[in-house]
């Protein structure tokens, strides 16, 4: 099994669909403990991503991911823009020049993405940020030995739900302190959609 250009494009399209569908939900989550724009930001960014990668011809996976990164960086803004932008940039860099991605390259790329997020956001696990989805995903990917639709979906979903119990220490929700407990982290929910989309791509056959 290998990830190719068309898979990555489908991954982004599916991510976009989920984000557009749940735009208001993401904003509502952000209204509760942030500033209410996460759905708007992500929907604007991923809409541009899909437009961009559909109108471009790619020969390498890394080029697709580079455009995803640049588009998110320049269209999302807020906290999530640089974080997702950095994540996809790190993936692109670690896969530089590759047309097809085997599992170990893929795990390495996602792990680099996580490092990028943590570096950029100066956040670590347990601070109610999207790190709380990306870190468990990397750990799970490292345990598995090939693309597994189910474990990706389950891990992303569980860790996203687990953010509810966490007290925010980073990002806008941190201003709320204890009052952030009991609310899902919006960025973790959008990250869940992205991994859920990946899981579907895998299920459809990588």
């Amino acid at each position: 099994m290998e990830l190719q250009v068309n898979h990555v494009i489908t991954w982004m399209e599916k991510s976009n669909e989920k984000i557009q569908t749940n735009k208001d939900f993401l904003s509502a989550l952000d209204r509760a403990i942030g500033d209410g724009d996460h759905g708007i930001n992500m929907a604007r960014g991923f809409n541009e991503v899909v437009t961009k990668i559909k109108e471009t011809d790619y020969s390498t996976v890394s080029d697709v991911l580079k455009d995803v990164s640049m588009t998110l960086l320049s269209k999302v803004g807020g906290a999530s823009g640089p974080l997702y932008g950095t994540a996809f940039l790190k993936m692109s860099t670690s896969l530089k020049g590759r047309e097809k991605i085997d599992y170990s390259l893929f795990v390495n790329a996602v792990s680099e993405a996580l490092n990028g997020i943590k570096m950029r956001g100066k956040a670590s696990t347990g601070e109610k940020t999207l790190v709380d989805v990306w870190e468990p995903i990397v750990e799970q990917l490292q345990k598995d030995s090939d693309f597994e639709a189910v474990t990706i979906e389950t891990t992303a979903k569980n860790s996203m739900e687990a953010t509810k119990a966490i007290e925010a220490k980073k990002g806008r929700a941190a201003y709320l302190g204890e009052r952030s407990v009991g609310h899902l982290d919006p960025g973790s929910v959008s990250s869940y959609y992205i991994f859920s989309a990946l899981s579907e791509v895998i299920k459809e056959g990588v």
Binding site: I33, D35, G36, V76, G77, G121, A168, K170, R172
Partner: protein, 331 residues
Amino acid sequence: MKKIINDPNFVVKDMLEGFVAAYPNDVKLLPNTTVVVREDAPVSNKVGLVSGGGSGHEPAHAGYVGKGMLDAAVAGEVFTSPTPDQVLEAIKAVDSGEGVLLIIKNYTGDVMNFEMAAELAEAEGINVQQVVVNDDVAVEDSSFTTGRRGIAGTVFVHKIVGAKATQGASMEEVKAVAEKVVANVRSIGMALTPCIVPAAGKPSFELKDNEMEVGIGIHGEPGIKRTEVTTAHDIATELMEKVLDDMNLKSGDEVAVMINGLGATPEMELYIVNKEVNNILTEKGIKIYDTFVGEYMTSLEMAGCSVTLLKVDEELKSLLDAESKAPAFRR
């Protein structure tokens, strides 16, 4: 949602075009960006000053672009920090070779986007430094978390740092005075009603008919507590208590005061708050060097206000007094 707008997705573009149309001799919009710069940028032999942030805080930040204040302001989407590519354009447009100082309000998004822009600009050989404003005492000041937000006190940073840079000070000196202002400025806000982000179409939070939120953020972030609306006297007393608790002012110290409207509050009410603030300071023997009452850092149509105190010394006083031609802060 009742607003005088066209397409909610283009409010920032429309606004910026309307803004530069109002001051064509003073400012311009960099083509295909959301960056407003001084007409004469880059100004030679001057450290460039760039600020910005999400839109919806007008006149911040474009209103503070002009001789004596900022060289450029970068506008993000409403309440969303601008992106690194835009900030980079601003940096490049205002760098005269003396380097560029970024004045950033302390929000994760702003810090990250401006930092990425700084990295990109440094890669192009520009000396970029930054100062992060965190004046909002409503938030606990902790190095383990995001820390305090930057709110209306940022305008004092723009003014004073702008004056310093205009004098031809070096990057080191400009940055030092910026940090001095940050160290001496404290604010806190309160809201009576929420605001509505155009693209969202609904209020960012809700308050009952008799409720107010103390310590509100300028994006509607929840504050310290929600209580019954009291009198201007009690509101001013509570806000000032929080600010003064954090400042360690002694009788004889001098401050500049800013009573900032968040958007929908009649100016009449701001002056009533100023009366109360003035009384509190006078009673404590704190001297008021200068007072600024008006809308300086808003939150769309939120009703409410913030109170900012800046402790001033001789240097800060003379920089505060210096000429400014920025549309929203004429001196």
